[in-house]
Every structure is written in C-alpha cells, then in structure tokens.
C-alpha cells in the first residue's frame, strides 16, 4: 500500500496539469502528438499550437488550463459577439441562487458571465425554463451531459470544480464555522 501511495504521489507530482501556477507552453500537447491530428499531414504547419496561444492567458489547473471568463474580463481576448449585421446581442446581469443542493453549499449561477459568451436561446427554453425553480436540475443528469453538463465537463470548466458553482454557504455553515465544512 505504501508503495502504491508513493507511486500515486509521484504520478501526481510528475503530471504537468496538476497544481502548476505558471504556464510554460510545454503544458499543452503539441498538435502532432495529441492523438487526434495526423502528424503526417503537411497542413499542421499552418495551424496554431495550443501552447503558443494559451500560455499568454490567465492560468487554470483544469480544462484548457485557461480562465476564459477572466481572460475576457481583463480584455486579454476580444472574441466577436456576432458576425451578421443586425444580430441582437443580449447580456443579462443577475444571479440565480439554487438552494436545493442537499449538504453542499448552494449554487450561484451568474447570468452575466454566461451571457457574455452565450445567447439566451442556448439555454432557454430547451435546457432550462426561464422561471427560477421550474427546472428539475440534478447532478446525475449534469454528469450525464444535461443541463449545466451540456458545457461544463465538455468545453467550460469541468465538473471536478465543485466549489466554483456550489459557492454559497448556508447560514451557520462554511469555513468560519468550526466542525462544519
């Protein structure tokens, strides 16, 4: 067992994604070695390497190892919000608190950060009803790729990051209350 634990520790320590605060370009796999791109394809020479693009952005420890929302907030990237003239760009500022989370802290869903990237129609009314509390969201479905899991775990920060959503402590709980997590 001790040997196993040591090995696991070594594995974690040797893994470039875990716990690193700085972001050398070597943390991102080269296209020719990513198991998807055909290294024999001469076209690869014209494609940007992820390390070259992503190492300049605010670092994260999961996903693309980039805090995309932060990169946008700081103006480090300026992705276009529309390509057709006349498209209405809708941004909503307003948090939704989801209180039925069992023993976990409650979920705070910020509309602002989401609508800066997405249109209302990406979530409403198919994935989520507009009326707060009307959608029977649960973690099992989310882990199965429904609701929040349509993006989180696939393209936005993954579902291992519990506290980024479960961020609102109930009264009498929280890090300041000894004995209660």
């Amino acid at each position: 067992m001790r040997m196993l634990a040591l090995l696991a520790l070594f594995w974690i320590a040797a893994s470039p994604q875990v716990g690193a605060e700085t972001a050398p370009a070597s943390r991102w796999q080269k296209l020719a070695e990513d198991g998807l791109h055909d290294p024999a394809n001469p076209g690869l020479a014209f494609l940007q390497e992820p390390g070259q693009a992503l190492s300049r952005l605010p670092p994260d420890v999961v996903g693309n190892r980039v805090r995309w929302v932060e990169a946008l907030r700081q103006g480090m990237i300026a992705p276009r919000a529309s390509i057709f003239p006349g498209t209405q760009i809708r941004v909503l500022d307003g948090d939704v608190i989801m209180p039925r989370t069992g023993e976990m802290p409650m979920v705070r869903f910020p509309h602002k950060q989401h609508t800066e990237w997405l249109d209302c129609s990406n979530c409403h009314e198919a994935l989520f009803k507009s009326k707060a509390g009307a959608t029977p969201v649960n973690m099992l479905e989310i882990l199965g790729g429904e609701y929040c899991g349509r993006c989180h775990g696939a393209v936005s920060f993954p579902l291992t990051e519990c506290n980024r959503c479960h961020s609102v402590w109930r009264e009498g709980t929280g890090p300041d209350h000894a004995g209660k997590p």
């Binding site: 067992m1 040997m3 196993l4 090995l7 696991a8 594995w11 994604q17 991102w28 796999q29 070695e33 990513d34 198991g35 998807l36 791109h37 055909d38 394809n41 001469p42 076209g43 690869l44 014209f46 494609l47 940007q48 992820p50 693009a53 992503l54 999961v62 996903g63 693309n64 190892r65 980039v66 995309w68 990237i77 992705p79 276009r80 919000a81 529309s82 390509i83 057709f84 498209t87 760009i89 800066e116 990237w117 997405l118 249109d119 129609s121 990406n122 989310i142 882990l143 199965g144 790729g145 429904e146 899991g149 349509r150 993006c151 775990g153 696939a154 393209v155 993954p158 579902l159 291992t160």
Partner: protein
Amino acid sequence: MPANPDINGETHRAPQGRTGLKKLLLVLLLCLSAPAAAEYADVVLNKRSEAAGMPPVIFQHWFHRERFRCKVCHSELGFQMRVGANDVLMTDIIDGKFCGACHNGSLAWGPENCELCHSGLPGLKTGIRGDAETRGPGRW
C-alpha cells in the same frame, strides 16, 4: 501478543505479496497507457468524412473561442450544442453556411484548403475530446 494467531501460532496477514504486485502492475499499466491528450473540448467530426474518403475533421474550441463567443456559432450559425447533432455537408459550407460563414477565403481560409480541417488520424470516432481531467459527461 500478535493479533489473530492461528493454530500454528502464525499471525494472519493479507497475502500482500501477490495482490500488492498486481496493484503495482495495474498502476504502472495505467501510467503507461495514458493516451496522448487532445486539448480540452477538441471535437472530432467523422459522421461523414471517412465514409466520403476524407480524413476526419478536428475542430478546436480553444482556437475559435479566442476569436468568437459561443453565441456566434451556437446561435447565429445554428450549430447544436451536442456532438453528432449537426449535419454539416461540404455543399453547405461552400454555400456559406456553418463553417462556411467564416471559412470563405475572406475572413478565414476557404474550403479549398481541405487538409487544414480534415486533419485527423484515420479511424477516429465522432466525439468531444481532451476530457482527461474528468472523463467528461458520460453521454459524450
């Protein structure tokens, strides 16, 4: 006094030797078999490519989201937010739909640069990749 001595006075212990070795081998195997990591949210599009004699398409979310917000492709261009849910034909692209809204030789390279998108290894299955951190939602 040693715990749990048997008739012969020997202490019972889990037969660590063999199971320990098995676990060790399993861990080593997992270490060695860790696949080359695609970048988080890379998409393989192979619903039609190989059947039509072209290598699969690799779409990279990270590259595109630096330049366009999600809503451009997933609202204005009509890409469904589920892998495999989109029927993207080359004729549509050439007509300026889907990828062709930008990949038209003016905003981004045109559709005659086949190998820049059809850049995948043979035999890849359609799906979202780069999920080494969580294995992603089960359904993908």
